[in-house]
């Protein structure tokens, strides 16, 4: 695991979590694995930060949680996107897209 993890920009994690959950209910570990796979390990997300983000989003009402059974039949806390979360994701994703486009256009033109 010798890579240079990129520090996450503030607030980025939340949008990643929302995006991940848009695929369906998932427990914390699953979310961590999913992001890892998608970013091919470029973003090393600390588990502590992930759980903070989950509970923060739950409080904000963007996601909700329920206890269920995991794939290996253990009790696990599953998170699910709420209607509000879905809305938020759309808005955040747009912002990110614009931001990224702007940064890119600057970098490419150089």
């Amino acid at each position: 695991m010798a890579r240079d993890p990129i520090d996450l920009l503030h607030g980025t994690l939340d949008v990643l979590v929302l995006k991940t959950l848009s695929w369906g209910p998932m427990h914390g570990y699953g979310i961590s694995r999913w992001i890892d796979e998608r970013t091919r390990g470029v973003l090393e997300i600390e588990d502590a930060a992930l759980y903070k983000s989950l509970h923060r989003l739950e409080r904000a009402g963007s996601i909700e949680a329920e206890w269920g059974l995991s794939e290996n039949n253990r009790k696990a806390k599953f998170y699910n996107l709420t209607a509000r979360g879905r809305q938020e994701l759309r808005a955040e994703a747009n912002t990110w897209r614009q931001y990224a486009t702007a940064i890119f256009s600057v970098l490419e033109s150089a």
């Binding site: 914390g28 961590s32 949680a65 806390k77």
Partner: protein, 882 residues
Amino acid sequence: MPDIRGLRRLIRFPWRSRVRVRRDIDDEFQFHLDMRIAELRARGVPPDTAHSEALRRFGDMSDAREYCRTMDEHSIHEQQRRDVLAELGSDLRFATRQMRRSPGFTTLAIITLALGIGATTAIFSVVNRLLLDPIPYPDGDRIVNLNRSNLQGNMYVTPTPKLVEAWRKGAHSLEAIATFGYKDVVVTDGDDPEDIKAGLLSPNVLPLLGVAPVLGRAILAEDTKIGAPKVVVLGHGLWKRRFGGAKDIVGQAMTIDGASYTIVGVLPRDFTVPFMDGGMRQLWLPLEENPDARGAQAMAKMRPGTDRDRLNKELSDVMVALSVEHPEFKEWKALALKPQDYLGSQTRDTLLVLLGAVGMVLLIACANVANLLLARASTREREFAIRAALGAGRWRIVRQLLTESTLLALAGGALGLFVAYRSLDAIIALRPESLAELDEVRLSPTVLAVSFGLTMLTGVLFGLAPAMFAAARDIGNSLKSATRSASGTARARRFRSALVVGEVCLSVMLLVGAGLLVRTMVKMRRAEIGFDPSGLISARVQLPEQRYPKREQRRVVYDQLMQRLQAIPGIGEVTWAMGVPPRTGMMFGDLEIEGTTFKKEDRVSALWSQFARPEYFKLTRLPIVAGRTFGADTSGKEIIINEAMAKKYWPRSSAVGRRLRLDAKGEWSTIVGVARNVTVPSTGRRVGGSMDYQIYLPFAEDFESPTLIVRPTGALPDFARRLSSEAAAIDAGIRVRDVSSVASQLANQLAGPRFNMSLLIVFAGLALVLATVGLYGVIAYSVTQRTREMGIRLALGADRPAVLRLVMSQGARLTAIGVATGLLAAAALTRVMVSMLYDVSALDPMTFALVGVVLGLVAVLASYFPARRATRVDPVVALRAD
């Protein structure tokens, strides 16, 4: 895991405990670590390394745990709040739906409550204004009226200007002190002269009260100097009435008592001076700064934190110090009074009786609505059972019912405010002259707050019992037995009966109260007053101040006026007297009768007195039953007494020729005649006793403001104007006022009792109607519930009269208990009404009996109709129902 509880827990995490929150977070983190370790192990990492690697990847676990815990607790709080609001919202929605579903019930309940709350609010606002918060100015509770009283404290008079000055300088408890008085004036601008009682104000009255004029300025110190330019401040009402509310009124002139005054300001609407007759609010003049003047009253504002005892002590000390130089203050002490002290125990009693009465009406209203709710609750039993089965807790159902009752109460309260507003208008329109303060009674913020509190309280009061019964119900039974179970539990039934008994009991008490007042009114109307007032006209004639200082001078004027009047066709008889009943005088002194020594307790120190000319008795048709009327001697040597007095002191012999005097050093007067008793009925007075002793003395032109009495033989059109012009022909300074018929003055005496009677009749009537509705409701309801029973009885051969008797006996039993307890309670309570009665015992048997009979009849009617319905039950239909 699919049990219902688990399911509910899976749906949400409602209201987790703190411990739960911590455990959940630990479980979640542990799961994560376990998964991570398992994954690493699967990749072939050795257990120890896998474990530490998992922990490393997790990062600062205790920080995350703390953070998540805070977040979760916050969300739980927010969730709780949202849930409560949501439940309240759904309760409210449900309650409104319930109300809309049974509009008849809702309307009846709201109107009942509105009447109860409205009447209570109206009466409370009166009590608040007169008893609780009588000075409606900032810090009114610190404002007192200052007097000096004799050392025994049984007599007090106004302070002299010198004393007020000494108090102002010497008493530290005083924040401010101000003096005021009044004066009768005539405003002669325009065509119609108007008699007005003008208030006289020292410059510090308005600052003390914290009142500013709405236009122009107030009365200033320079206005009160003797010889200062004449200025006047208008009351709001007079300004609107006489000057059309003109904004440019300041600086204009008006004529008062023939002199020109400059209008300098206008005072706010409703401005009155505490301790001053509430009718005085039209015209305000400067109180002249005259150290020798007497009769002005003083009021003071105490410093915060001072009480009246301390103030009295301090003011009395000032008087002691003052008496060194001015011995006239030696035998006096200070006496600070509050408006309540002036109210008189009679008014206070009346107010408390009215408040109590209206409170009873409210209670009856609550009982009635509670009864309606109970009846409805039993028809809703299935609904509650289903809700309970679906998981609603008892408390949830109680809360639902309380929400409904509170909503009803609020609707009733809102409509009640309207009722209160209209009733206040009616009360003010009805008020006797003596309660002029009532004109300022408003639905003040205090009153509104109390009314709101009352509304919420009634909501709980009538809602609680039905809610408790609903909560106590056995769910399973209700569901199983469906419609038939609705006979209600025995407890609920007993409770409903108790409510009706209570209603009847309270109504009986109110009816007895109202009955006693009606009897009072009848007695007062029928009272033998002793003379014949019909057709009599009286007028007060006032000579200009100090223009006729000698008795002979006054006699000339009085004789002249009489002669001039006698020339008017149809004038009939004319005479002068000091006053005319009901307005006569009292004479103070120590009654002595020649040849008799009184025991101490028989001493008489005050007598009803009248000064009259010889023709007075014939003119007023007041018979002289023994002896004769006065002769030409007006020196006071002759005296006429009434029968009551003659009978008391000379029970077996004639009083004529005996001698008496009221002043130990004075001359004896000889009794020349005995007149019939003159009785002016008034409430709260003990009949019999020395206040009934009456003496007549010769009218000796001692007064500057005597009364003219006329018994016309024909119509006297425009008599007041005619009288004024005849008087003016003698001296333009003579003033004629209060031209009115004696009969109407006597009728005015009935205004107070009529006021009390009207209010109590309204309350008692309301109570009777509500109690009747309540009784009817209970009987009708039980008939509905017992339809099957009636059916069985009829099927088994009971005849219809038997069924009728059965139902009616139920009503009769409830009524009998209610009437019996009501009469007993009334007997215990009517004592507080004694001061409102005239010549009627508080235990008047006739009233008590009549009330019992009336309620009995009403009860028979209220149970007859439901009973008749019971006899029409068709056995076949009744038995098949279900």
